[in-house]
């Protein structure tokens, strides 16, 4: 049992914290808006070669948290999930479509779809990879994320396997996005702590007011809880755990269930933490000039791109209480 990062992971985290602090400061993040992608930063990240087949989901989650802390304008999570499947399909950015292609053969609002060279997703009964020229732009959106619609038919198309293979890709995406959202939440708390100790009102730092303190004090437990859950999910994926879900005993080892849980929880925590942090910035929190608004928008955007949380919760409920449909007909 070890409920903290290993020493290797701490080193990994330190290295990426230093890297993103130097290379993905707020000025870079702002410069990349509204597209939300910085190609020169991407090349530096790519050059660090963390994608190799040996990269565990756990280690990638450590890096994803750091990328989230610096809201780095690069498709780290998407490429980490998709690139292992396109070995030999050529270089460039890879991503996944979170939803199956629609009747017109279009993947809608693909994360990193504006910049990815290869998109992997479900089209009918197949999991396919399509290489085509990225549009380089997409619809303006809340998170300044490089979203775009992509065709599942036009381009160099390779069938990778049955559509069911998408489940594990989605689970990895959820876990790494959860880790990024933990990073968003933890940096938002740090921004709040810095601000409330500097800003003075009534002759004292606003951080000495109990109402302000109490508004922040429940965040560290939520953030730690979200991180623990994300890493439990990552570990379950890496081990190919046995799929146990025993709600009565509160024992859950199933990678898909844990990934959904981590994703929903981290989304809530990031929304809550950014909300509190923005609020305690007062009017400046609402100003474009202050960084917290960048975090506030991403906390929501990164979580909602998958769809409404209720749908995710219902999928989870199907896993936990599978016989429900028949219970309805059982005549009460």
């Amino acid at each position: 049992m070890e409920l903290a990062f290993s020493s290797d992971q701490r080193e990994l985290l330190d290295a990426f914290e230093q890297f993103f602090a130097n290379e993905s400061g707020p000025a870079i993040v702002r410069r990349a808006e509204p597209l939300g992608h910085d190609d020169s930063l991407w090349h530096k990240v790519d050059a660090m070669e963390v994608w190799g087949s040996g990269a565990s989901t756990s280690d990638l989650a450590v890096i994803a948290e750091s990328a989230g802390r610096w809201i780095a304008p690069v498709p780290f999570v998407e490429h980490a999930v998709a690139s292992p499947l396109i070995d030999g399909l050529g270089a460039g950015i890879a991503t996944i479509s979170l939803r199956p292609a629609d009747a017109d053969g279009v993947w809608r609002l693909v994360p990193a779809g504006a910049v990815a060279d290869v998109v992997i997703g479900v089209d009918g009964a197949d999991l396919v990879a399509v290489r085509s020229t990225p549009p380089g732009s997409g619809p303006l959106n809340h998170a300044s994320a490089p979203l775009a619609d992509r065709s599942a038919r036009d381009g160099e198309r390779t069938v990778l396997g049955p559509a069911a293979d998408m489940a594990m890709l989605l689970a990895r995406w959820k876990v790494l996005t959860a880790a990024s959202l933990v990073g968003v939440a933890s940096m938002s708390l740090e921004l709040a702590l810095k601000y409330v100790q500097e800003r003075q009102q009534f002759g004292v730092p606003i951080g000495s007011f109990q109402a302000v303190q109490h508004g922040l004090a429940d965040l560290p437990g939520l953030i730690d809880g979200a991180r623990l859950l994300a890493h439990k999910a990552a570990g379950a994926i890496d081990r190919g755990a046995d799929g146990l879900c025993n709600i009565a005993l509160n024992e859950i080892d199933d990678p898909l269930a844990l990934a959904s849980m981590a994703f929903v929880f981290a989304g809530d925590v990031a929304a809550h933490a950014t909300d509190r942090s923005l609020h305690f910035h007062g009017g400046y929190g609402f100003a474009e000039e202050y960084d917290i608004q960048l975090y506030y928008r991403r906390a929501r955007g990164w979580a909602l791109i998958l769809g409404e949380p209720a749908a995710e919760l219902l999928t989870l409920a199907d896993r936990f209480w599978p016989a429900a449909a028949s219970a309805q007909g059982s005549g009460h």
């Binding site: 290993s6 951080g207 109990q210 004090a217 429940d218 979200a226 623990l228 859950l229 429900a324 219970a327």
Partner: protein, 381 residues
């Protein structure tokens, strides 16, 4: 991170689970709710018979904080009460740590045999969160101490064999330095126990100390060292002895009811159930982390505060959601025909409010986290 329990702990957990299942019977539950005494003597004895209480006492048994967490988490998840046994085990650990030979010889075996309970006399009618302001006095008279005062919320005093009583021995010293912890048999003349009934059926007590005379052998730890003894107790507790997963039996009761009633097919119901399952799991992971920190030689005091905040607030949220979801049937109590989840939803809705109050209120925990974890300046209050 590695969340896996060792095979030994898994085997231990199975053992605990088996014993709890055999003794957490409908009859035991009925007696608890009838008497308001939330303790299960037959479970305590059965655990003792297998040596599991001795094993759990900090500093005495072979068990580590991981086992301590597993023991109380299993009892709690089954829906069986944890506090009475938890306090006894914790205080036995304190006595083992700072007690004199006679205290160790008498109290420790009484607890490890599953027979004796101990109550905590800290809070007073006028003193709760600001404990160092307490006014119960212990005055030297020859080679005895004479104790006078009143304590409030002395849970289990009506069943306990001893009370650990925090009293002021030196009013001239700074507030928390003039306090001494006493370990006093409950049958000592001058102690009176009056019941205090609570909205959740559970009985606690007001206790009164009227010229209670005890010798130096009843001092636990050092004279004027009571605050330190209390922190030893807290450091043994570490937030791993129950109280962080009350949502697990609540969810189980509610899901079973939803299945029986056909409500389980409703998306709104399923969504809430899934949310509570997530919160329950996060609460468990946070508790497991405290146990792991303690087992690795750390003191997870602040982590315990964070866990308590999260666990108590999510339990309250769950019990409110479930009661609303159950509608009018969610108002019906245990054993009432037609009660949603056999009345457990109503019971938890009545019980959950206390969890943000006792064992350190939400606000006190937030003060600690703000000052000692977030590093914010001492608050203007």
């Amino acid at each position: 991170m590695d969340f896996e329990l060792s095979p030994e702990v898994v085997a231990y957990r199975e053992r605990v689970r088996r014993i709890v299942a055999a003794h957490h019977t409908p009859e035991a539950i009925r007696v608890q709710h009838e008497t308001g005494t939330f303790n299960n003597p037959s479970l305590n004895r059965a655990l003792a018979a297998e040596g599991l209480i001795e094993r759990a006492v900090p500093g005495l048994g072979a068990g580590d904080p991981i086992e301590l967490w597993v023991l109380f988490n299993e009892i709690e998840k089954a829906g069986s009460p944890v506090d009475a046994l938890g306090v006894a085990v914790m205080i036995a650990g304190v006595v083992q740590h700072v007690g004199n030979e006679r205290q160790k010889a008498e109290l420790v075996p009484a607890v490890t045999s599953g027979e004796a309970l101990i109550c905590m006399g800290y809070s007073e009618p006028d003193v709760g969160s600001d404990l160092s302001a307490l006014t119960t006095r212990a005055v030297r008279d020859g080679d005895e101490w004479v104790i006078n005062g009143a304590k409030m919320w002395t849970t289990m005093a009506h069943e306990a064999s001893w009370v650990i009583l925090l009293a002021r021995t030196d009013p001239d010293l700074p507030r928390h330095k003039g306090l001494t912890m006493f370990l006093i048999p409950m049958d000592t003349p001058g102690i009176r126990v009056d019941p205090v009934h609570t909205m959740a059926t559970e009985r606690t007590n007001a206790t009164f100390y009227d010229d209670v005379r005890v010798g130096d052998d009843c001092v636990l730890g050092e004279v004027n060292g009571g605050w330190r003894v209390m922190s030893v107790a807290l450091s043994f507790e570490r937030g791993v002895m129950g109280g962080t997963n009350p949502g697990v039996p609540l969810l189980e009761h509610t899901a079973a009811w939803a299945r029986r009633s056909g409500r389980l097919a409703e998306p709104a119901v399923r969504e809430k159930l899934a949310r509570v399952a997530i919160d329950n799991h996060v609460a468990a992971l946070l508790t497991q982390r405290s146990a792991w920190i303690a087992a690795s030689g750390g003191l997870p005091g602040l982590e315990g505060s964070m866990t308590k905040l999260f666990a108590s607030e999510s339990y309250q949220k769950a019990s409110r959601w479930f009661q609303e979801m159950a509608g009018a049937e969610g108002l019906l109590q245990l054993e009432q025909p037609g009660a949603a989840a056999d009345g457990w939803i109503e019971y938890d809705a009545r019980h959950s409010p206390v969890t943000t109050i006792y064992g350190g209120t939400t606000e006190i925990n937030k003060n600690n986290i703000a000052e000692r974890h977030l590093g914010l300046p001492r608050a203007r209050r």
